[in-house]
Amino acid sequence: MADVTAAPLTTADGRPLKAALAEAQSRARRRAFLLVAPLLAFVVLTFIIPIGQMLDRSFHHDGFSANAPATLEWFDANPAGTAPDEAAFAALAADMKAMKENKTAGEAGTRVNYTLPETRSLITKTARNADDLAPPFKEAFLAIDDRWDDAAVWQAMRSSASAYTADFYLSALDMERAEDGSIRRVEENGRIYIYLFVKTFVVSAVITVTCLLLAFPVAHLLATLPMAKANLLMILVLLPFWTSLLVRTTSWIVLLQGEGVINEFLVALGVISADGRLKMIYNQTGTIIVMTHVLLPFMILPLYSVMRVIPPSYARAARSLGATSWTTFRRIYLPQTLPGIGAGSLLVFILAVGYFITPALVGGADGQLISNLIDFHMKNSNWSMAAALSAMLLAGVLVLYWLYDRLIGIDNLKLG
């Protein structure tokens, strides 16, 4: 048995076949990779890196730690709770002078201010007057502002001393750090984020269900009508889809507002009195109505594409075997539309969760969603907070996606 040695297979020019094959395959792989390389580079540059940066910002803010090296050293040498001594003030004075020089007091103050309000101006003011800081340093600091004696200020600086922090996630969960460093819920009148997260998911679910109820018959009609008529109806579905989002939202304002078309019509008919005009906009109702309309095509199109290819013979067979029309629908037709329902619902839900322009325009006070607060923090330059909220939203959507995969299976998704 050991004697039988097959000569290795070779190509015509005598190279081992295995090596030649491997080379040819790797060449093909390289070529394939080069073909997708532009797209890969595009996705990495415009999607992966920004999302990575966003996640990084949500727990990384070196505004204070990068600009106060001497104070950091003192914090390292002295355990938490140590009263600031002359050495601490001397270190801080050196940092303040550097901050004034480099114009970084604002950045440092911003970071500390996230932990303790009103420390921002304390730091910028002191840095502005850094030239007056001379030994004895403690007196010099207190001469500028007597808050420098406050232990809470030093505690806030200490907790800002690390570039990495979970504080933004704490805030995003309506929690805060107490003076002694323990974690507690914020006061009741300041709690907002958890409430808004829940509300965002509930409102998005309501919008998804409404979209499904409205889209299902329309998609069915489109799928069963003769081609010519279906195309005409399809244009009616697509026309709003192609219209600018802002135009659609503003036309809803015209329709729904207190003195708007619908209210005027109802008052003229005598259905409601002039004082009893319906409140249909600048509240949650407005958000749901307008977002349902805006997102409807995203439900109709996947449903339509699935329904169009369902052979009518199954339903006919069921009927001929004695099923009632309801049973036929429930047991034969509906299960076959599931991939479309899944795709449409997932699409509408994920879009709704991140929507912000429509709630901002028609949401009024109680129609705001979490995305509006992310926008708010972006506008106020608190990018870390915006990033933490976005990361939580992203996590929520990923969990839903995973659930969907477990329950229905992502393979069943059919977008068209």
Binding site: P50, T104, P117, R191, I192, G364, A365, D366
Partner: protein, 357 residues
């Protein structure tokens, strides 16, 4: 991380780099942006021979941080609120402006003495003084009309919906003044937790009847649509609707909250030298007067107020419409930039929570 940020925006930067030989000014759009275009951008461009254009933003202070951090600054001058000018300057996001580089007043007073106190900061120069006021529709009230800040919150005497700016700034101050806090003590009261509670308690009394607005142009629109009977607004927007568009709107100056609007240069602006020339031109006595002929925001130079100002229609005298007119200043509050630089986050978070409840 910063390097990656620069890298990732470099591509976008390529698209814009071709347009560098043009001064870009960013302002708030609407009647206000138009006033600055007509009074500053166009005449400066004509006088200097350097092309200049105006772009709009909901708040020009917002993009500055993003642009500077990415190293891709595409605007040369931005018109921003006072508190933002201070904050961005502290963060090193703005170029410093030397007051000595600004021209003397038309009467020869050096710039340092000619500007009103606080109108020139380390990094920014005032383009006007504007005000948060409230205005009502005169056709909605027969007989008694609202005259005080307290009347805005009086739903019994003046029933109907109210328009309010969605945000804590200027809204909390108005609530306190309406609750009887003298203007001079507003920020002292608002610095205490009890004061904040008091302001929110006052807002609670009208919460159910409030329509919230965000963009400056929405306020006069809500009033014109009859959606509200009175609304807070930027005074220039109401002036524009009342004088230029003949709307029956009346401003109530009691409890007005005014502040300087500032021109500033983002750090690393492509045409920094030209931007400084532009600001010197726009904030000269003539430049400030020119802007005030388009919109009723007061010039921040003493020399600009010496002669009578007329609206662009050539007959409306501007003086009584300006926030700085003595008869409008009887119960007025200047926004405390320092207070809002510090408390903006905290109070707006509370405001948002209150709004969502």
């Amino acid at each position: 991380m910063k390097k990656i940020l620069i890298l990732s925006t470099a591509l976008t930067g390529l698209a814009f780099s071709a347009a560098a030989q043009e001064l870009t000014v960013m302002s708030w759009g609407g009647a206000y942006g138009e006033a600055q275009t007509e009074a500053h951008v166009k005449p400066w461009s004509a006088a200097s021979g350097f092309p200049a254009k105006m772009t709009d933003s909901d708040n020009p202070a917002t993009p500055i941080k993003a642009m500077v951090e990415a190293g891709n600054v595409t605007i040369d001058v931005a018109s921003i609120e006072y508190a933002d000018a201070i904050r961005l300057c502290d963060e090193g996001m703005l170029e410093p402006i030397d007051i000595a580089a600004l021209p003397a007043g038309a009467d020869g007073t050096p710039a340092a003495d000619d500007f009103l106190p606080g109108a020139v900061t380390e990094c920014a120069v005032s383009t006007d003084i504007w005000s948060n006021v409230y205005a009502y529709d005169t056709t909605k009230f027969t007989g008694e009309v609202p005259t005080t800040a307290a009347d805005f919150f009086d739903l019994e005497k003046f029933p109907g919906k109210r328009g309010l700016k969605k945000g804590a700034k200027a809204v909390l101050e108005l609530a306190l003044m309406a609750d009887g806090v003298p203007a001079a003590e507003v920020y002292d009261v608002l610095s205490t937790p009890e004061g904040v509670d008091r302001a929110f308690a006052k807002l609670d009394t009208i919460k159910a009847d409030v329509v919230w607005w965000e963009a400056g142009s929405q306020a006069p629109q809500l009033l014109a649509d009859g959606e509200v009977v009175m609304t807070t607004a930027y005074n220039g927007r109401i002036f524009n609707a009342a004088i230029a568009e003949n709307k029956p709107f009346q401003i109530v100056w009691d409890g007005q909250i005014y502040e300087n609007e500032m021109y500033a240069i983002p750090k690393g602006a492509p045409n920094k030298g030209k931007a400084l020339e532009f600001i010197a031109y726009a904030t000269s006595t003539e430049g400030l007067r020119a802007q005030a002929t388009y919109i009723s925001y007061g010039p921040a130079r003493k020399s600009a107020l010496k002669e009578e100002l007329l609206y662009k229609d050539g007959k409306t005298v501007m003086a009584p419409h300006l926030p700085t007119a003595p008869e409008n200043m009887t119960n007025a509050l200047e926004t405390s930039a320092e207070f809002w630089v510090d408390r903006n986050e905290e109070l707006n978070e509370r405001f948002n929570a209150w709004l969502a409840q």
